[in-house]
């Protein structure tokens, strides 16, 4: 087996890199440490170290989880246009999309793990050993699809990369069905996550039939926004050939997705404000505040403006094709959707509470530390995977050259600006 050489070679690649690479790793290592300190404190004293309380029983962690599910889903859905438009670097895009998906799903699972009150009882969720409440609990479905999706993507990526290492043509009959399967899986992780919220009649803010479509639409904005930046960095700093057309195409698709996203939001807002039932309270809390409690208001409006501005940037060909405005647009989308999913979905769902209480939530220092740690782990995993994947894709690392020739001078850490 060549697997040992593959592993050894990978180690060599990880340990060789320039200043930029090492400082990036050091930075991520610091983030992980910050997270570890935060989590240790949380374990010790309990979730009382967060700002969550009975009226708002989920917060920042589950918001991040929801956002990242979208990133994970959308990363792989890029596979569709890659196949339809027959871009030259299809394989590369598929691989990068999947690497991103894997790291995003791992972050999702970590965010759930840090949110639960009894992490020592995680095994209760494992079917057979524990007692997974399937099919009644949608969260049980979510556990299954998220893990399935993670495994699926890991298998495909590892297989493709290993084939590149042993210089064997990847078997299409093995890999194509898996790649195609990952598409409905990507849709399902997001749909099921939406249904976790959507299926709760107690929370009118979530109990809306267009929640799942809204989730998908916003995911198709945020996931590609990351890939867009990533592709440009790879284009600039590596020998990977990525055509500008490909990047512009993604931007164009994002414009459509953003349009649908905004349209669906508008549809919800119309229904609530025009009919003015007591469900309106949650939107009021989000956009205008209730009784002077306005913690979310600036975020809500910033998110709307960022999304509209990004939509215009991606819609107009001139701004879509200009790298400066293009990246600004990606950033705005990222910010807009992050706020929408991370803050403006979870918290107004709980505020006011079912008994009418308005508890103003904003994340505690511990929550922020832990989140920094989780993102640190995610980026670390992505960086390390990409570090090995790149020379493999470029044909610089395989069985004939298990000591990668250019490992030393390819110092630039690609994802440095992705966050």
């Amino acid at each position: 087996m060549h697997f040992l050489e593959f592993v050894k070679g990978s180690f060599r690649i990880w340990t060789s890199g320039g200043k930029g690479y090492w400082s990036w790793l050091a930075f991520l290592g610091m983030c992980v440490m910050v997270g570890a300190f935060g989590y240790a404190e949380q374990l010790q004293r309990g979730l009382v170290t967060t700002s969550m309380r009975d009226p708002v029983s989920w917060g920042f962690y589950i918001g991040n989880f929801t956002f990242l599910v979208g990133v994970a889903a959308a990363a792989v859905v890029l596979v569709i246009p890659a196949y339809i438009y027959h871009w030259k670097p299809i394989k590369e895009i598929v691989i990068i999309g999947e690497l991103l998906a894997v790291s995003a799903v791992i972050m999702c699972l970590l965010f759930v793990a840090v949110d639960i009150g009894r992490p020592d009882r995680f095994w209760h969720l494992i079917p057979g050993i524990g007692h997974l409440n399937f099919p009644s609990s949608i969260l049980a479905w979510d556990v299954l699809v998220l893990n399935g999706y993670a495994v699926l993507n890991l298998v495909v990526v590892t297989y493709l990369l290993y084939c590149a290492f042993v210089k064997r043509e990847a078997s299409a009959s093995f890999v194509t069905p898996l790649i195609l399967m990952s598409i409905p899986f990507a849709v399902s992780i997001h749909t099921v996550t939406a249904f976790v919220y959507n299926g709760l009649p107690a929370r009118p803010f979530w109990n809306s039939a267009i929640l799942a479509p809204r989730f998908l639409a916003s995911a198709f904005c945020s996931g590609p926004a990351i890939i867009l930046v990533l592709l440009q960095l790879l284009k600039k700093y590596t020998r990977l050939e990525i055509k500008n057309e490909a990047i512009w195409k993604i931007a164009e698709l994002m414009a459509y997705a953003m349009f649908i996203n905004l349209f669906l939001l508008g549809a919800e807002i119309f229904r609530e404000y025009y009919s003015g039932t007591h469900h309106l309270l949650f939107f009021e809390y989000l956009f205008t505040g209730i009784d002077g409690k306005t913690a979310l208001v600036p975020y809500a409006w910033f998110s709307v403006f960022a999304s509209v501005a990004a939509f215009l940037i991606f819609l107009i060909p001139a701004t879509r094709k200009n790298p400066v405005t293009l990246n600004l647009g990606a950033l705005l989308i990222y910010a807009g959707v992050y706020i929408e999913k991370g803050i403006a979905l979870v918290i107004p769902g709980f505020t006011p509470s079912t008994l009418g209480e308005i508890y103003e939530y904003s994340p505690s220092p511990v929550e922020i530390k832990v989140a920094v740690g989780v993102f640190g782990i995610g980026f670390l995993i992505f960086t390390l995977m990409l570090k090995v994947a790149l020379p493999l894709m470029l044909g610089e690392f395989d069985i004939d050259q298990p000591v990668p020739a250019r490992a030393r001078d390819r110092a630039k850490p690609a994802p440095a600006a992705a966050g």
Partner: protein
């Protein structure tokens, strides 16, 4: 992780964590693993199966272990009972809104009876103050009223606790089946099985579920040592709890503590299947209603105006 492993730590109040704190945390985490492999009691607690999968023998062993554990923690003789539901019993509750004065004696009786944490404070019953002009409108109600004397002019009071729904949303959504409905209609939680994901709190339309954000604390001399496994036995950090119609009392033919404590007799309780019960009388002779009927959780907690 046993409750024992966690009791000592509430002095660490600073938000930033010292290196010592970190080491302590890491040690606590490691200790969990070690405990699970060393002390037989801790290992048993860790690997304990879902309550409904336990055999009679398992149950007896577990109840003994818990009695010993609680005895060590609070002193005195503890009983942890697991009396099952009786045949032909469906418990229901009724509350006379025209009598309730909002004094909250029920709240405090409940806290005492059911070993709710005093620090941080937890209440299973929320008494909402409402404006007479607005009627029953939860979105304009407040649980934070503090006059010198109740009832206050222009207001009335609606106590809310678990409504023991016939279609309990909280049970449907729990990913590990840690909460379920007993044959006598009481919705219970196995505190040793709950993973603390809090989905049930998002799903409950009545804010009836409460989470132990920190290690619960009850002074030794205030602990109720007469407990039921599915009811008022002391809880752990990181799990959800709720009203169980005082399962430890009502399965032994007694009234819930809130019924006994109410100074104006606004609270009625009983077996809905028993034709001669007071609860049956109320349902047949008064005009009862339920909260949030549009959500279709079908509560067994009825409100009515007796006068």
């Amino acid at each position: 992780m046993t409750a024992k492993a966690q009791v000592t730590i509430s002095d660490n109040r600073e938000t930033g964590l010292s290196r010592r704190g970190f080491v302590k945390g890491a040690l606590a985490a490691a200790a969990t693993g070690l405990l699970a492999s060393c002390s037989p009691a801790a290992r048993e607690a860790f690997f304990q199966r879902h309550f409904r999968e336990l055999t009679q023998d398992d149950k007896e062993r577990i109840l003994d272990r818990l009695e010993a554990e609680y005895g060590r923690k609070y002193g005195g003789e503890f009983t942890v009972d697991a009396a099952p539901a009786a045949e032909g019993v469906q418990f229901a509750y009724a509350l006379d809104l025209s009598r309730c004065v909002g004094c909250r004696r029920c709240v405090h009786a409940c806290v005492k009876e059911n070993n709710q944490s005093r620090d941080p404070e937890m209440h299973w019953i929320t008494v909402l103050q409402m404006d007479k002009e607005k009627g029953i409108d939860l979105s304009h109600a407040t649980a934070y009223y503090n006059p010198k004397q109740v009832p206050e002019e222009g207001h009335f009071y609606v106590p809310v606790a678990c409504q023991q729904c016939r279609r309990p949303q909280c049970v449907t959504v729990c990913p590990v089946g840690a909460t379920w409905q007993e044959p006598d209609g009481i919705v219970v939680i196995d505190y040793n099985w709950c993973i603390g994901c809090r989905l049930c709190m998002a799903a409950c339309p009545y804010g009836a579920r409460h989470f132990n954000w920190a290690e619960p604390n009850i002074p030794d001399d205030e602990v109720n040592r007469d407990t039921h496994y599915l009811g008022n036995r002391p809880r752990y950090k990181g799990v959800v709890e709720k009203c169980t119609f005082c399962i430890q009392r009502t399965r032994n033919g007694r009234y819930p503590a809130c019924v006994e404590a109410c100074p104006v007799g606004a609270r009625k309780f009983g077996n809905i299947l028993d034709k001669d019960s007071e609860i049956r009388y109320v349902i047949e002779n008064k005009r009862v209603f339920i909260l949030k009927e549009e959500i279709n959780t079908q509560p067994k907690f009825y409100y009515f105006y007796g006068v």
